[in-house]
Amino acid sequence: MALAGASVLAALAMIVIVAPLVFALDPTAIHRQHILEAPSGRFPFGTDQLGRDVLARVVAGARVSLLVGGTAVLLGGVVGVASGLLTGYAGGVADAIVMRVWDVVLAFPGALLGIAAATAIGPGMASVIAAGALTGLPYFSRLARASAFVEREREYVLAARSLGARPGWILTRHILRNALAPILVQASNLVGQAILLEAALSYLGLGIQPPNPSLGTMLSEAQTFLGIAPWYPMLPGLMLVVLVISANFLAEGANAALSRRRARRG
């Protein structure tokens, strides 16, 4: 299942990156004679209210979804892991303060973080990525902190320290390496959620701004046409479902692999 998820995700990534290079898929080209046309040979996903190719826009939107989802998780992961490792290893006041700060972030559901980010830096790709990164950050930080807490008492760390290794070296070479597997599982868990958050915020007008294609903004434009052109609001949503399901499969597989490894170690 994880393999299926990973391969579908990889295939989709390839398609959304390569397809525009091979086929003439222009998400902004307007075909005036083809307004809200049902799916056909020429337009497999039909056309929208301006006569744009829905397939081209779905492909472009999926690219934005993957880009935003990936960047948000990467950003949240790097900042979260770094802060968790540092404060977990150091302990004391810094640790207490940073953990409190993440508690405060956790007090805001994702949609509210999106509203806050859109208010602070204006609606756009940056605000969506910031909101996505913030939702994941506390989890990464707690995970890394827990690892640092456990590992810093282990003999090998004591040995490294007594040999004169600097904290930076110990953190990256020893502790991070041991904490990496659960962190990667967590990252794969969060990609799907980040994609869903981007879609929701863009749908509300707090994310990617038109005319840039995003599955969320497409859906907010398409909602009006539910009655007369149902394929138009349905297909971008289905694309999102496929993206998120494959990300979730990947996460479940990663999770299973991790627990198998833990079970083997005893």
């Binding site: 949609a111 509210l112 509203i115 602070a120 707690r142 859906l219 949503g237 999102l240 399901i245």
Partner: protein, 319 residues
């Protein structure tokens, strides 16, 4: 028990104070002068100066926060930049609609997930189990607002059973109220229903393996009796915690779903406020949501302590 409750109150209080600082700073540290925004683009220098004094913007940041927090505590969240209404009044007008939506979604989620989750746990590794687990997994990957599209297409446009959007007050017309409520509430409940179903299944499956359940069965107790007397009680303890967390998720989700169905709640108010740069309303709305969210968490923790004595003796639950 009191020790445990006080500990939780203290922790929640600290987070709440810090969250209010964050909400305050979010607006105050924005580029641009709030007085300029409030007074409008054509205001003269002297008007801006008087607005500045009136809003207390000349005081140090800490003093400003303390004044703002003090006002918020007594229910004064300032006035809307857009229409000069008191923010608290705007929120009070919109809050009932959001609460109706969130509560209805929670009830729906419980009504669906408890029986399905228990069924999947009792009939483990059967077709029913795979179906329930599979469908709930699918539901978690569906964008919630888009699920609303699907429901509108099906039940409003194709079948004409329910209205596609809008709102009716329960006092004016109870049946119209329910008709308008059903689609948005079902939409909002989707992710919570799916997550809860999976959780209930796991919670019950774990308890089915417990020694005391096996003992009860060996004593010859019938399956339904075991289910009700031994399992339900214990599994519900953990379910309560998750429901508490989900209640907060429902509030956040309502902000999005209200837009799909033109539901006149706080979420719509906030979105409009962002478009208008109505910072007083954004600030008040965020503060209200965070407070509600933290209070729900507190209630959850306290009820958890009531149900499970181990929690209150062992101190606060970790994490």
């Amino acid at each position: 028990m009191w020790r445990y409750v006080l500990g939780r109150v203290w922790q929640v209080g600290v987070v709440l104070v810090l969250a209010s600082v964050a909400v305050f700073l979010l607006i105050r540290l924005l580029p641009g002068d709030p007085a300029l925004v409030y007074a409008g683009p054509d205001a003269s220098n002297s008007v801006i100066q008087s607005v500045r004094v009136q809003m207390g913007l000349n005081a140090p940041l800490v003093t400003q926060y303390l004044i703002w927090a003090h006002h918020a505590l007594v229910g004064d969240l300032g006035r809307s930049f857009a229409n000069d209404y008191p923010v608290i009044q705007l929120l009070e007008e919109r809050l009932p609609a959001t609460m109706e939506l969130a509560v209805a979604a929670l009830v729906l989620a419980l009504l669906v997930s408890l029986p399905l989750g228990i069924l999947a746990a009792v009939k483990q590794a059967s077709l029913v189990d795979y179906l329930v687990t599979g469908v709930s997994g699918l539901g978690l990957a569906v964008p919630t607002f888009w699920f609303g599209f699907v429901l509108i297409l099906l039940f409003a446009i194709r079948l004409h059973w329910l209205p596609a959007s809008g709102y009716a007050a329960v006092t004016a017309d109870p049946s119209a109220f329910l008709g308008h409520l059903l689609l948005p509430a079902s939409t909002l409940s989707l992710p919570v229903t799916c997550a809860l179903t999976r959780f209930v299944k796991t919670a019950f499956a774990d308890i089915l393996d417990m020694d005391y359940v096996r003992t009860a069965r060996a004593k010859g107790l019938s399956s339904p009796a075991i289910l009700v007397r031994h399992e339900l009680r214990n599994a519900l303890i953990s379910v309560v915690t998750v429901v508490g967390l989900d209640a907060g998720r429902l509030l956040g989700g309502a902000v999005i779903i209200e837009s799909v169905f033109a539901w006149p709640g706080v979420g719509r108010l906030l979105l409009l406020a962002i478009l208008n740069r109505d910072y007083a309303v954004i600030q008040g709305g965020l503060l209200m949501f965070v407070t509600a969210f933290m209070l729900i968490n507190l209630l959850t923790d306290v009820s958890y302590g009531l149900f499970d004595p181990r929690v209150r003796i062992g101190g606060a639950p970790t994490g």
